[in-house]
């Protein structure tokens, strides 16, 4: 096909303003979705572009954070800087803290929440806090809309459940208990612009007696897909903050690897401490 010949340039850049136009493009063409570009460009291989581009950032209604009847809706093309600039409940504190750690301010001004999920990096800063918020992913296509849990959406390293004709349209977050507060801990070798060695997000609620009655803890960069530590969460219930312990069994779902950022053994060791800090930080801000 002539259009893919080296040196020719007949590829298209589509920038639809309505979802229906976007869905039509997705159904009709082999297109690559681009939003903030912050993962698209660094990952782009050398050589010619292989398919048309579909820019989703001008689609009406795809950006912004809104209160819904039963929770919150983060539009897919919402930028990370909007996440931390929006006034949100305390349960979102971890998500907002993570938003400030996505790359740099320049990245946060361009990169989108859905892009972070679709990129499906094991070290995506946005995933653990969204897991602790019981996030669901709303997916649209010309065939209709479906909603799945975030934990089912990311299926592996750089793999998601998104089909070729589909587009993530929003992240949906249920209303959390009034007393729930979030925290986020990131461990890296430098202060800014750093890929996490490990990261931990938590959402903790304390009852009137200072006992934990709501617990979500999720860890990133310690397994192919960031995940919640549900055994730890169950053990936290009923405990006061000073009784919190993180055991080997709690971390059993994790399988950290050795890489340039740290050894797997180190990650496991550090993340235990990080969990403690994230839980105490989220809990400590109560009151």
């Amino acid at each position: 096909m002539a259009r893919f010949q080296l040196g020719t340039r007949t590829l298209d850049y589509f920038s639809p303003t309505t979802l229906d136009d976007a869905f039509d493009r997705l159904s009709a063409h082999n297109v690559n979705i681009v939003a903030g570009g912050t993962d698209f460009y660094p990952a782009r291989p050398q050589g010619p572009l292989k398919s048309d581009l579909l820019d989703v950032t001008r689609i009406a209604g795809l950006s912004g954070i809104t209160k819904t009847q039963d929770g919150w809706r983060i539009g897919a093309a919402t930028r990370w800087s909007e996440v931390f600039r929006t006034d949100l409940p305390a349960a979102f504190a971890g998500l907002q803290a993570s938003a400030r750690e996505v790359g740099s301010l320049q990245i946060q001004n361009a990169g989108t929440v859905a892009g972070n999920l679709c990129n499906a990096s094991p070290a995506a800063d946005g995933v653990p806090p969204l897991l602790t918020l019981d996030a669901q992913v709303e997916i649209g296509s010309a065939r209709g809309t479906r909603t799945i849990d975030l934990s089912d959406f990311i299926t592996g390293v750089r793999k998601t459940d998104l089909h070729n004709d589909e587009l993530v349209t929003a992240i949906l977050l249920p209303e959390l208990p009034m007393n729930a507060r979030g925290a986020f801990e990131k461990l890296g070798s430098r202060r800014y612009l750093v890929i996490s060695i490990t990261m931990t997000a938590s959402v903790i609620g304390l009852d009137a007696n200072g006992r934990i009655d709501h617990a979500r803890v999720a860890v990133g960069a310690c397994s192919p897909v960031a995940q919640r530590l549900t055994a730890l969460e169950s053990d936290l219930l009923g405990k006061s903050l000073d009784q919190v312990e993180v055991t080997e069994a709690h971390l059993a779902p994790l399988s950290p690897i050795d890489d340039v950022r740290g050894s797997g053994e180190y990650r496991l060791d550090a993340v235990a401490e990080q969990c403690l800090r994230a839980i105490k930080q989220a809990g400590g801000e109560n009151g």
Binding site: Y13, V34, D52, A270
Partner: protein
């Protein structure tokens, strides 16, 4: 409806003007701005969002232009530094404070820093330090150490203009070349080629060692868009280069076998359209991957392949210094300590990748590229091109950081060969990955050291051995091998000394010059063991160093005796107050904290300025035109350190005119004499001395014409020179003098070469005419559960002989500390693995704590106005001071850098039985 924007116009507002461009699908905004709209003030350092140099404001928000599809700019407002500097009041204030405080050194990150700062200042009146760090955290700087940038943003609009006065030696004037940096108008390596120029793409080995055979290059060369293919067969002269004549061994294009990953085997000259879409993996070449040796021990093994004929066992060369009998002394010593220390490759990480432009002008080849050594470039090109030297001209562009790596040629031969073969202008800009793969690195080291002492704390025997991984080619490896044994003692009196180094070839990128030439590595071993020795003896660590410090009239380990200028003791003494106060403060902190522990570390260092026992001349030419313009041909490459300013200040002092009056002509092999390379901390000392001689010679000529005394005052301008001498005014009418072919009615060209003497077989002699001295103190906080190390404060004392420009001295100190900090805590280049700026980490603005600088001035007999070199001294004590502080804080002695959190935590667990 869809906006179908391919091949349609993207309209937006650029710096207040309506503009239209036709970017193709996938084009980055940075490319559209630079190549279609001429906004070359938008710098590209990584094309991956890792460096922030390309930061622009889109509807007021800072974003990386390299990550934004150009079409997303449609209908928006895009602001870049050049436009902001013209129109925006906040930017104008910021430009002033950046210049007043020395916040721009090389200037390549400055457009990104300033645009990010403008966005902050528009929304935040009087931001504090933390707000500045958060706002600028996405822009990397490799020169300044960030502190002056923070100060400049905090102070925007309120900074005092430093006293300009005469701008003579000793005055903290602004950089003379600063305006172009803060307005985005300085042209760096990739900023000179006209849009549409043919591009050169280099084909590189994907393997550390591989044979290769080309497919049909004639067929490939006929591909539409390809103008020429270059291989070793196209090198008209000799296919070899190297910085040290006896060790010249690196081919422009490998022949038969590539010896490291990233080595060039061919290049394609093509239209920009072709180059943009070209995947080098599609070039017709077949690789035959072969067993590679990537560390020194593997390379020395009997089964390892030999990289170069005549270098048996892959030993490139060694260095040796001996005085007294180290081993006998150690055997007799009351106390001994020993250790092994390792460090990895360190990448220079300048934000400007190698880039340039070449064209044929009247049949001559003109090369414009970033470089630290224009005349050495000319030497190499003469050999490679095999044409007369006068047929080649090197015109350096602005240099966006160098730190040693831009001493070696990189893009120059590809540019020249491309221009000669096509007859057309050509350009090249390395990608970040190419730059990291193919250019020189700091040598990995593998050092063993044993030191003895008497029970009252006098050093008694010092026995050092170091392997240095010099990579596939020699580059500056021999210099490292020679420098290390001369410097490994540190600035101390050691009578029984033995130091041996060996440079070993491996299938790795060539190790070359990097700020300190191996001395930062040896200082880690020496200064770490000094702490161990002091502790074992029960002597205060600072007092131990002071007790053993070198003084005037004491021989160095090379037997050199300085009668003056040995300034290490005053450096250490300048730390004494901080040493006492900070240790007390750390003790108090530690008694209240279980997990976070603070520690204080110190270390010293010295460094000989100029070439080791080799000729090392600089020449500085000056002239006065008929109209009274005073012209200084300043050929000492300013790579951010400030030579343009310092060399001019020295000249102005010597001549006796205000520095602002000088017209400066920079390096250009056609019109400016050779001021040598910007290396070995030699420019202030060596070129500065030549500059002083040139100024003095010019002054002497003028005074002689009117028979005036030494004390006479000169006023030059308006076609005349007024000489005011003891109340009498003489006037020289310049129109009565005959101008030479350069238009000068008066001229003075002077050369200075430092007095040194060769080293004998035991390394005894006079390696350098002067040394500079340094001592650092650092306070760190170790998170003992996570292994993270956070430096909280540095106190740095530097003996510079005479600070020609104290503000620039501080800038060097802070920038050097940032590089030493990076080496200590986070930087390790792993070929094939950390070939970008998100896996290879350099410090960000949030990693550099405040630095308190103490300038010590122990005048040197040879330096201009007593000045000594400084550039490399500034990072030598940093890494060992940090390692010593980590030990002080946590009780663990790290012997391998970088001390990543993973390594620190492992050491702590090891010490604390797994906790």
């Amino acid at each position: 409806m869809d906006k179908h924007v391919s091949e349609t116009v993207t309209d937006f507002i650029l710096n207040g003007d309506h503009v239209s461009a036709t970017p193709i699908a996938g084009e980055r905004l940075s490319e559209t701005l630079r190549e279609r709209l001429g906004a070359r003030d938008v710098k590209i350092g990584c094309n991956a969002g890792d460096c922030g140099a390309c930061t622009v404001l889109v509807d007021g928000d800072p974003v990386c232009a390299c990550l934004m599809p150009a079409q997303q700019a449609a209908g928006r407002s895009v602001e870049t530094l050049r436009g902001l500097a013209r129109e925006d009041e906040i930017t104008k204030r910021l430009s002033e404070s950046f210049q007043n405080l020395g916040a721009a050194q090389c200037g390549i990150c400055t457009p990104g820093m300033m645009t990010a700062a403008v966005a902050l200042l528009r929304n935040t009146d009087g931001p504090n330090e933390e707000q500045v760090q958060d706002a600028l955290g996405g822009v990397l700087c490799r020169c300044t150490g960030y502190r002056k940038i923070i100060d400049a943003v905090v102070a925007a609009g309120q900074a005092e203009v430093p006293m300009q006065a005469e701008g003579h030696a000793g005055e903290s004037i602004r950089r003379l070349d600063g305006l172009g940096k803060v307005q985005g108008t300085e042209a760096f390596g990739d900023d000179v080629a006209p849009a549409g120029t043919l591009e050169v793409v280099v084909i590189r080995s994907p393997f550390p060692r591989a044979g290769f055979t080309f497919g049909d290059l004639d067929v490939f060369g006929k591909t539409a868009g390809v103008e020429a293919v270059l291989t070793a067969a196209d090198v008209p002269g000799r296919n070899v280069f190297g910085v040290i004549p006896a060790f010249m061994d690196q081919p422009v294009f490998a022949e038969e076998e590539a010896r490291f990953r990233g080595e060039a085997v061919a290049a394609v000259v093509a239209t920009p359209e072709y180059a943009r879409d070209f995947d080098p993996a599609t070039f017709p070449v077949t690789w035959d991957e072969r067993a590679a040796a990537q560390d020194v021990h593997a390379a020395m093994a009997p089964e390892a392949a030999q990289l170069h004929e005549g270098r048996d066992g892959n030993v490139m060369c060694g260095g040796f210094v001996q005085c007294g009998d180290a081993r006998a002394a150690i055997a007799e010593a009351d106390v001994t300590v020993e250790g092994s220390f390792r460090s990895g490759f360190v990448e220079h990480g300048y934000i400007e990748p190698e880039a340039g432009f070449a064209e044929l002008v009247n049949g001559r080849v003109e090369i414009r590229a970033c470089t630290q050594a224009p005349v050495m470039d000319l030497d190499s090109m003469e050999i490679i091109l095999g044409i007369p030297r006068d047929q080649i001209r090197i015109i350096p562009t602005g240099v966006g950081g160098g730190f040693g790596s831009k001493l070696d040629i990189s893009v120059q031969p590809y540019l020249a060969l491309g221009a000669l073969k096509t007859g057309k202008p050509v350009r090249i800009c390395y990608s970040r990955t190419e730059s990291m793969q193919s250019t020189t690195k700091r040598h990995p080291s593998d050092i063993t050291l044993k030191i003895g002492a008497t029970k009252d704390g006098k050093i008694m025997g010092f026995d050092f051995f170091g392997y240095f991984n010099t990579g596939a080619y020699a580059s500056w490896g021999p210099t490292v091998a020679n420098r290390v044994p001369v410097h490994a003692s540190g600035p101390y009196q050691i009578t029984d000394y033995r130091a041996e180094s060996k440079g070993i070839h491996t299938n790795c990128p060539p190790s070359g010059a990097f700020r300190g030439f191996g001395v930062p590595q040896s200082a880690i071993a020496q200064e770490s063991l000094f702490d161990e020795l002091a502790d074992k003896l029960g002597i205060d660590r600072l007092e131990f160093r002071i007790n053993n410090a070198l003084e005037n009239n004491m021989p160095t380990v090379c037997g050199q005796v300085f009668e003056q200028g040995v300034g290490i003791k005053p450096c250490f003494e300048a730390l004494r107050t901080a040493w006492d106060d900070e240790r007390t403060a750390a003790e108090t902190f530690n008694s209240n904290n279980d997990t976070l522990k603070r520690g204080v570390g110190i270390a010293g260092g010295w460094y000989g300025c100029g070439n080791t026992s080799l000729p090392n001349p600089s020449t500085i030419k000056s002239g006065i035109r008929t109209d009274g313009t005073v012209v200084l041909h300043q050929g000492a490459m300013d790579i951010g350190q400030g030579a343009n300013t310092v060399i001019s200040q020295i000249f102005a002092t010597a001549l006796g005119v205000p520095v602002a009056q000088l017209e400066i002509i920079g390096a250009d092999t056609d019109v400016t004499p050779d001021a040598g390379k910007t290396s070995a901390s030699r420019q202030t000392y060596v070129s500065g001395s030549a500059s002083r001689l040139s100024g003095e010679a010019m002054r002497a000529q003028i005074l002689a014409r009117v028979n005036a005394s030494e004390e006479a005052a000169l006023t030059i301008g308006n076609g005349q020179i007024k000489v005011t001498d003891q109340g009498t005014e003489h006037v020289i009418d310049l129109s009565t003098l005959t101008a030479d072919n350069e238009g000068y009615v008066l001229r003075a060209e002077e050369t200075y070469d430092p007095p040194t003497k060769p080293l004998d077989e035991n390394g005894q002699g006079i390696p350098y005419a002067q040394f500079g001295y340094a001592a650092h103190l650092v306070v760190v906080e170790v998170d003992t559960k996570l292994g993270t190390v956070k430096p909280l404060k540095f106190v740095a004392a530097h003996d510079v002989g005479k600070a020609i420009n104290p503000m620039l001295v501080e800038g060097q100190v802070q920038g050097g500390i940032a590089q030493g900090l990076g080496m200590a805590l986070m930087e390790e280049y792993l070929p094939g693995r950390t070939e970008n700026l998100h896996d290879y980490l350099i410090p960000t603005i949030g990693d550099m704590p405040p630095v308190e600088t103490h300038i010590i001035e122990e005048p040197d007999a040879h330096g201009p106005y007593g000045a000594k070199g400084l550039g490399e001294h500034v990072l030598i004590p940093t890494a060992p001071a940090i390692l010593n502080a980590i030990k002080d804080a946590s009780g663990v002695r790290l012997t391998q850098v970088p001390t990543t959190p993973s390594r620190v935590r492992a050491a702590i667990k090891d010490k604390n039985n797994g906790n």
